[in-house]
Subunit: 413 residues, 2 copies
């Protein structure tokens, strides 16, 4: 499941992926009876392959090259003929503002050697990657397209800090927030402060979210912080970004691109020796954009609704889910995502993390390749990195980061 | 059919709309056998209603208000309960750059009184509206969503000329075009010059495209130039923008928003006394973005492919189409759209127009409410205005602009 929480920025998309049985349609569908009947037919959407460009803080290639690199990596992973791809759906937020380049669809498609395919870009701020994935899922479900390449990409580090800060603030309700000096960080600072006040939680209690992310990133080849173990001392003594957010509470500014191939053709999804993975369901919802206009800023209604909808459509419950790839752009957002998606009661997220449940060997691993916090958060690319990571986990190719016996995985962006 | 030609900017989307029989599924489907079998089921997508905000050159409302106004107008037109709408798909190109506001989906959804719905923005430059419509078509075809509001919106006139010119140039291949000083106008100037050279056509030969657009706009309540008849003398003596483009060859910078409601629920599409309209098919394609990298700049391959695909999927031919709403951002682009969509042979577009075939009472009316040229071209909104106008023509509510006996309409963006 992918839930676009956008740092509480008003939207949620949920996608639920599951390891599929070899023998299609034979006994594996009890849980999906609801989803199948709701859509009126039994079309299935598989992940054919995935490709990730290592997340960096100084990419020396263009958006076009980076996106194409991710597409080629996914095609190689799937051992798929490029001619099988009929469409490229791009997730991106800031290319027009930071690179003076819109229309990434045809640009990336062409750079990847795909000619005359359908292509466009979907934008939903931090949830852009998840939104592009959602569109591709719907397109494949429609039967109009058999195979779609979903590319998430963002190039941020070439711009100066002021420009990036302003570009990110276009995700706020500009008239009442961005134009009044609010930034992504300041709005998240308010949410974190409110959480600490309401539940009487000191800053140190958020440490496990950062720690787990950095731990997992250490063995992830594509993570931006591959060699950075984090201690409580480092966490607590890091510079304050915006009170109460300190350096290790926030995800870094970075560059990256990832691609997943969605297909309804089971033979294109068949992998030698690997497991077949299918998207069991997806859902999306939006909340009021301006945080001040919401009844309760800690109640992320879009996350809640999209998560519940995705689970209901797939016929699964929280207990069935083995991994939760959530949107931890801030440590406090990881906590709020756990709570609002319904895995723990409101106010109990930090205790759940403190008890070790979110580690690779815990009850509900999160950020298995480092998450936004330590794999990195190239904004519009993030949701697709998460999907690629879900695929690796379910396909059994997650290497040192493999969570054993994983059958159902929920992605929240 | 909608074909996103993007002034030759590299992408094409084609949507074909048709008046539907009252008795659904009874004998009206011969032409759609192909589309139905290709999608594996017989799901139909209807246009439930449409709303247009008058296009202006000085909108005094925000994007948020303008988009919401279009949604409310469409809901009123459809006599539809807002609760029936499950998603808002926005088409927009420049909001981040010109208004510092991304994430228009939840913003507009909420301003229109829709709570917790799914929402995102699709961008494909001048084809953004058509691309959003294409996504909504796929979403409804998928069976996952029953009713989607497609909103096209663009607010351009509040920015200074230099800012707008640069924002529009982000639709070019920035590295080789925009960054080298090319603009939308200069690139179109090259295409027009090449057309004039290759086919030995003087500038005055493009007059009928501008004339028909201005004529039709005079009776269209939502057009930006409602009272501007155009003479050959005015056309030929207008200031040169970029040789050979003169003032009346180009569409104006303007603001606007439009909405169409797509639904698979026939009862939501039923209109008292009106005609039921369905989307017969849609298709999309992209060409190489940089014009200089194409084999032949006058061969708009994406327009050609998307048009042929849409017609083939719906099982119709050129002769079946009663109106062609094309992308006439420039008079020369109207001509190229006619030719590349296959309505006339290459090089014969101007003669076709000179013979009167493109007028409201001609063989193939175009720009029936003024087109981009005179209804106006609020970039990301244009494709949705075209869809709203297709709906009015097929539904018999086009007033003074009604083309009689219209059964099948092709929209090219």
């Amino acid at each position: 499941m992918m839930m676009m929480t956008m740092n509480g920025r008003g939207c949620g998309v949920a996608v639920l992926a599951q390891r599929a049985r070899r023998a299609l349609g034979l006994g594996s569908c009890r849980r999906h009876a609801h989803a199948a009947s709701a859509s009126g037919d039994s079309r299935k959407v598989y992940v054919g392959g995935a490709g990730v460009v290592p997340v960096t803080r100084q990419q020396d290639v263009t958006l076009e090259q980076m996106g194409a690199q991710a597409v080629r990596a996914a095609l190689a992973d799937a051992d798929m003929d490029p001619k099988s791809v009929q469409a490229v759906f791009v997730g991106n937020m800031m290319s027009g503002m930071l690179s003076k380049q819109q229309h990434l669809g045809p640009l990336i498609a062409n750079a990847a050697g795909l000619d005359l395919v359908e292509a466009s870009t979907t934008e939903a701020c931090c949830g852009a990657g998840g939104a592009a994935l959602r569109m591709a899922y719907l397109a494949v479900m429609s039967g109009e397209l058999e195979t779609v390449a979903v590319v998430g990409t963002e190039l941020m580090t070439h711009a100066d800090r002021e420009t990036i800060t302003e570009a990110l603030a276009t995700a706020s309700h500009w008239a009442t927030e961005g134009a009044k000096g609010e930034t992504f960080v300041s709005l998240n600072g308010k949410l974190m402060a409110e959480y600490m006040r309401r539940y009487n939680v000191p800053h140190a209690k958020f440490f496990p979210f950062a720690q787990v992310a950095h731990n997992n990133a250490m063995t992830a080849a594509h993570a931006v912080f591959p060699d950075k173990p984090l201690t409580l001392d480092m966490y607590e003594n890091a510079p304050v970004v915006t009170d109460p957010i300190q350096l290790f509470d926030a995800s870094p500014t970075c560059d990256g691109a990832a691609c997943v191939l969605l297909t309804s053709n089971p033979s294109l999804a068949a992998r030698a020796g690997g497991k077949r993975v299918r998207v069991a369901s997806s859902a999306a919802a939006t909340d009021i954009l301006a945080v001040a206009m919401r009844e309760d800023p800690l109640h992320l209604r879009a996350v809640e609704k999209s998560a519940m909808d995705a689970m209901s459509r797939a016929g699964v419950t929280h207990a069935d889910i083995d991994i939760f790839e959530l949107h931890d752009a801030y440590t406090s957002m990881a906590c709020l995502a756990l709570e609002n998606a319904g895995f723990v009661p409101h106010g109990e997220g930090v205790e759940f993390a403190a008890d070790g449940h979110i580690s690779l060997d815990g009850q509900l691993p999160i950020a298995t390749f480092g998450g936004l916090k330590a794999r990195g958060h190239p904004v519009g690319a993030t949701g697709v990195y998460q999907a690629a990571e879900m695929f690796m986990q379910l396909n059994g190719t997650a290497g040192m980061n493999q969570v054993p016996n994983t059958e159902i995985l929920l992605e929240g962006e």
